[in-house]
Subunit: 415 residues, 2 copies
């Protein structure tokens, strides 16, 4: 692209991310980018800009060869899929913030880029304003990584901070997260862990060279968090964070998992509060590196999109170096064991989990909390049952990779 | 460079960093790099490799056109200057880990690259294994930054952790840092803050487009830390960290400063312990981002050098985008005021500091501790006096940029 002229952007979606990008470009007048068209869905919706700035026809925007770059920032992953794949089929340069789209379709998106010569970047899709994909892709490209884990969902982290720091009820905290624009349109994605799962799939491709289908990742959320669970955490001197993690076993298999976790004072994730995200990359030589920054909000996410816009206009594309380098696709470590707390009122659930029940914490008639070891395979197989039962499951330490290092929980008798 | 062949590296220096790089390349056999020659100074020194792997003649290595890349990893900045400038005059691709060299000579190093077409990268020179230069240079290239601050010296941070966490005496902690290979050959550079100052100068060039001469930055260290100072910190519920910081004032001037600082529980730097470094980049849109990782040690620093080696072989060079973009060189905000604690037994020193003495904390005959506001100008003018007097100076919060936010210290009467 000619670097001396203003590059024209076609923007799809004008929600939190789209408006964030628009606002930054309006303020940073020396940047050589201009949003030429904004494509939105609903002509009737009241918007902060004059109607003539909007288009309601994606086909028209996709077909406009005057546009140098396309930015996809709509929340519906199916529509986003249609737009991004159509753009890539035209060999366009595209920036997306849609993690669900990338998580579900990465192999196809890679193929389309190869076939038609387009480019897709998606830094804003993982950990908001933190440049984690770029850092893993570029800086750690040749360092063997041992683990990548962290807090990848700003909305659920905000809720947990409100609950633990300010003793707010779950429902109030959720409403606040929505009011502040941290939550997905469908907040279930945030609080049930599905959004974290999407982001973990993307990170795993860059960090371990494995394109995981979301279905391969067991995920659990905070939507069934109850007072008994809070009490258990507090009595163990810990807070609870929703942790997404993937690590390599000594056998070269991977353990991807999204799971609420006890987080003690010495844990790097302890200081990640409110809408912040935090990612720890454990390098074979560098040791652990923590990246902490805002994981949600129009400006942080808009800044991440802008960084991709600038990179893509400079000819940057992800090299997917770990995918290129790997000799064989790492398998899932299905027999990996993790120590968890589980609260459920359903005795059948406990049975189907093949749970080595180390200690019964509580066995009142209406509730049953146990702590014990469970395999990744059992979590994958039983995750729907656990969700349907309204059970709450919690890792006893965010250090999933080293169960032997788990600080022994106190024997807590809940009343 | 031909990407299908093994690239030959000429390595200068075989201390902690050089051996770290050597060891990583020996383990990662699939990397297309080979250390062909190692140039060291002292032929008599016992080394862990056979004598024939070494050269003792830098001229010979510099003249060897068979070498694709040069890595400079010696501790003497004057010798490093000779080697790196000679290499750049030959248009070579050079990676250095020498922060003092880069801090003192950046304008000349930029000119030499422009004139002779060579390239110089130096990620390992700042914050060890954390990819902070690359991230500021690439990811934040078009975002206006408000502040960059953090803990940039692993050795002094290790010492402070040992003192605060394990109640070790200063001298024992320093010896440990040296034994573990975290300290500079001359540990004064670490503990007096000079090394942090070098790194701050480099960061300022990339973050604010201003090549600072080290002489423009007031620096204070932990070498005169006494028991009374520790008591003051503990009574304020804080620990002490050696903080390097540069921020932009509302008038567009910069405040660069290296100063021990009280760090409370809510401070992002609180969790940066032992030999770790931590850098907070405050972006205008992204908000604060913390990068935490190992700041010293052969493997983390060697991994940073390796990352530069890979980047340089792929054609990467720093764009110095903030230097290119800036309209005028930001001036020093000499009248900027910062709230500090000062302990000195020299009454003349207090007078020359033009100190607004808010509160006398102690006024025993042999010691005098005050807390008050002091200007950047006064710190620059009096820094040598403060050092010579063996005084200890401490910011009351690591948030230098917002003195109004300083949590009011308790009135502490030391016995």
């Amino acid at each position: 692209m000619d670097s001396n002229r203003i590059l024209k952007i076609g923007l799809f979606g004008f929600g939190c991310v789209g408006q964030g990008l628009y606002d930054i470009l309006a303020r940073e007048k020396n940047l050589p980018f201009q949003i030429e068209k904004i494509c939105v869905k609903d002509p009737a919706k009241v918007r902060p800009l004059p109607a003539e700035e909007f288009s309601f026809n994606p086909e028209e925007v996709l077909a406009d060869d005057q546009l140098d770059l396309l930015v996809e920032a709509i929340s519906d992953a199916t529509e986003a899929y249609g737009i991004v794949t159509a753009a890539l089929r035209k060999g366009r340069r595209v920036v997306t913030a849609n993690k669900k789209l990338v998580a579900y379709h990465l192999p196809e998106l890679l193929e389309l880029q190869e076939q038609f010569g387009g480019v897709l970047l998606y830094e804003a899709a993982v950990a908001g304003g933190i440049p984690i994909i770029r850092t893993v892709e570029e800086y750690f490209s040749n360092e063997p990584l041992e683990r990548v884990h962290g807090i990848l969902n700003g909305s659920s982290n905000y809720i947990l901070s409100q609950i633990f720091q300010k003793q707010k009820p779950y429902a109030d905290a959720l409403k606040e997260a929505q009011d502040k624009g941290f939550a997905e349109l469908d907040p279930w994605l945030d609080v049930a862990g599905a959004d974290s799962r999407h982001k973990l799939c993307i990170l795993t491709a860059h960090a371990f060279g494995r394109t995981l289908a979301p279905q391969e990742v067991a995920f659990f959320g905070i939507d069934s968090l109850g007072n008994r669970d809070l009490e258990f955490a507090r009595q163990n001197g810990s807070t609870i964070k929703l942790v997404a993690s993937v690590h390599l076993t000594p056998e070269g298999e991977i353990v991807p998992l999204v799971l609420p976790s006890l987080v003690g004072d010495a844990d790097d994730l302890k200081m990640v509060e409110q809408e912040f995200n935090g990612v720890v990359v454990q390098g074979g030589y560098s040791g652990p590196q923590l990246f902490k920054g805002k994981g949600a909000g129009g400006h942080p996410t808009g800044a991440a999109v802008l960084s991709d816009v600038i990179s893509i206009s400079n000819g940057y594309r992800y090299g997917y170096k770990k995918l290129q380098q790997r000799q064989a696709e790492p398998a899932l470590a299905l027999d990996f064991q993790i120590e968890v707390y589980l609260r459920t009122s359903d005795p059948n659930l406990l049975e189907s989990l093949d749970f080595y029940r180390q200690r019964i914490i509580e066995s009142a008639a209406d509730s049953d909390s146990v702590v014990g070891m469970v395999t990744l395979e059992s979590l994958l197989r039983n995750q729907d049952k656990i969700r349907e039962a309204g059970a709450f499951i919690l890792a006893l330490s965010s250090d999933f990779a080293s169960p032997k290092n788990v600080k022994k929980y106190e024997a807590v008798e809940l009343s």
